[in-house]
């Protein structure tokens, strides 16, 4: 087990002397990371795999954390990169093998009545199909603000942009999303 970097340990809140870096990091941030993965990855993402990848990268690349930002922000960047890479791989895989992302969804756990769940999944998939057609910057801002429900300040801090930039991205992203959904509805 590689030791956590000093930066990471220093900036981390109080930890017990015998605590493991993975335990500390996971206990504090697993819920946030899991939520980000679920939101950014969409319905077809394998949350467990992505969560695993994010923490492996974080623990392996702990030395890149300089302590300038909060660990949460740093973890969000890692999550963002991991999810984006996974989406790219899935896109290429779909092009090469013709595998649809919806096939992954079939293995997702079922909750609620089957009919309601199917309808919800359909809407979920439709929304993410439209989101995937947007530029990544707009997509991320929209997901964090509209779906994850974060405030503008929190989104700007996580993404690492100014608040003004976020408003611009949100404005343009919302317009594009509406246009995309409207175009999808047209026969």
């Amino acid at each position: 087990m590689p030791a956590m970097t000093l930066h990471l340990l220093k900036s981390a809140p109080v930890a017990s002397e015998r605590s493991d870096p993975l335990d500390d990091l996971y206990a504090r941030h697993a819920a946030d990371v899991k939520r980000w993965v679920r939101r950014l990855g969409g319905p077809s993402a394998d949350v467990e795999d992505l969560l695993h990848d994010v923490f492996v990268v974080a623990l392996r690349r702990g030395f890149t954390f300089r302590g300038d930002a909060r660990i949460k922000t740093w973890l969000f960047r890692i999550t963002h990169h991991v999810v984006r890479n996974q989406r790219r791989r899935a896109f290429v895989r779909g092009l090469l093998w013709g595998r649809h992302r919806e096939e992954v969804l079939a293995s997702a756990p079922v909750a609620g009545t089957p009919h309601a769940e199917i309808e919800r999944r359909e809407r979920h998939l439709r929304l993410y199909r439209a989101l995937d057609r947007l530029p990544d910057a707009y997509r991320t801002a929209l997901i964090l603000y509209e779906i994850d429900g974060l405030s503008g300040e929190a989104v700007a801090e996580l993404v690492g942009i100014s608040l003004g930039t976020l408003w611009v991205r949100l404005h343009r992203g919302r317009a594009k999303l509406l246009a995309s959904l409207a175009a999808e509805e047209e026969p």
Binding site: A30, R35, V47, L51, H52, R120, H124, W167, R174
Partner: protein, 387 residues
């Protein structure tokens, strides 16, 4: 400038008049999507990290072992190379030396130096040989060409050349010859450095002194000089090492070897006068001159105008071959005799012994019809027939 609204109302909070109702529903369905249970993630992360560490340490170990082997190989190679080179030089010297008695061979193998006369120098490098050969005149084709190709210290190569008579000589001015044989050319170091095996010319050593092991420092100095001379082509550095050897080990067991190396280095530096001094002042018991050194000395003496002394050297070599009817199948022996004959003819002509010079030239043409000086000798004989 366009202003973008801060804190826009979220889609889920907008009414159906503000946006299509379907959009809010879509967003809400995404928000309400159930989360997956991930109970094994932590264990998987731990396992993956452990695997990575083990894999990395395995590669690190392999890289470390490879690096150690590389470094050790370099160290061993660096330490063995000089020894191998010295052994190679020694073996090449042995192969060129005459067969020695088993006892002496064993002594040489043990690092002891044999009788000075039996110590042979390795063959000079091709570069040195090339340089010296370039200094030698090519076969004569015309009279004008002859005058151009004669070495500067030569007294001339035709009857009309009178500079030979006006050149100062330490042995007096000999009578002007009817025809002058060109002065002998400088030999190539290869011949000079070849084995100085005991020949009838050199008085054989009476009693061989017991071989004394050379000190390590002395060996190191000689090895340095050899290396600088043969590998580094730095005669100045070699000479410096040899001077240090001379000052520290004036009577060292490797003194004959040092003397020969010094001669070679001085020749490469073009210091012919110094070479001649070395050869003249060589202690006979220490460096018994072989045929090559005799030839070299004779040619240098001829170059210095000391024709009588040069004649003695050439004569000794020629008589050695004639008396013992040396094995002229040996290329080097033929070369030596060729040079000696030409040199003796030159010396005799400059000392006024025209008959002897003519005999030498005839002998030269008879023995070496394709020799280096054959055309020139034939022309001289034709131009100046015996009256």
């Amino acid at each position: 400038m366009k202003r973008y609204p801060a804190n826009p109302t979220r889609f889920v909070d907008l009414t159906s008049e503000q946006i299509p109702a379907a959009v809010g529903l879509l967003i809400r369905s995404a928000i309400e999507a159930p989360g997956e249970q991930t109970p094994r993630v932590k264990w998987r992360i731990r396992y993956t990290l452990q695997q990575r560490v083990e894999k990395r340490s395995r590669w690190l170990r392999l890289a470390l072992v490879g690096m150690c082997m590389f470094v050790m190989g370099g160290v061993v190679g660096a330490s063995v190379q000089p020894l191998m080179r010295a052994r190679r030089l020694e073996s090449s010297a042995h192969t060129e030396a005459p067969p020695a008695s088993p006892a002496s061979h064993g002594a040489r193998r043990r690092g002891q130096v044999q009788e000075p006369a039996a110590v042979a120098l390795p063959v000079a490098s091709a570069e040195v040989e090339g340089a010296m050969v370039a200094a030698a005149p090519p076969p004569l084709s015309t009279g004008a060409a002859t005058a151009r190709t004669v070495p500067p210290w030569s007294l001339g190569d035709s009857l009309s050349t009178q500079t030979a008579r006006s050149r100062p000589s330490s042995e007096g001015t000999p009578p002007a010859p009817r025809f002058a044989v060109p002065a002998p050319v400088m030999p190539v170091p290869r011949a000079m450095l070849e084995s100085s095996a005991p020949t009838p010319v050199t008085p054989p050593p009476t009693v061989a002194p017991p071989p004394t092991p050379a000190s390590t420092r002395e060996q190191a100095l000689i090895a340095t000089a050899l290396d600088k001379l043969r590998s580094g082509h730095e005669p100045e550095a070699a000479l410096a090492a040899l001077e240090e050897h001379r000052s520290r080990f004036p009577t060292g067991v490797l003194a004959p070897e040092a003397a020969r190396l010094r001669t070679e280095a001085l020749l490469l530096l073009g210091r012919k006068a110094a070479v001649l001094d070395e050869l003249d002042s060589a202690v006979p018991s220490a460096t018994t001159p072989g045929e090559d050194r005799l030839l070299l000395r004779g040619e240098l003496r001829a170059g210095a105008g000391r024709w009588r002394a040069a004649l003695a050297d050439f004569d000794a070599v020629v008589r050695a071959h004639s008396a013992a009817s040396a094995d002229l199948d040996d290329r080097r022996s033929r070369k030596r005799l060729e040079r000696a004959l030409w040199g003796r003819a030159s010396a005799r002509s400059h000392l006024g012994d025209e008959s002897g010079a003519r005999d030498d030239l005839q002998e030269y043409v008879r023995r070496f019809p394709d020799g280096r000086f054959a055309i020139r000798a034939s022309r001289l004989l034709e131009d100046h027939r015996r009256p």
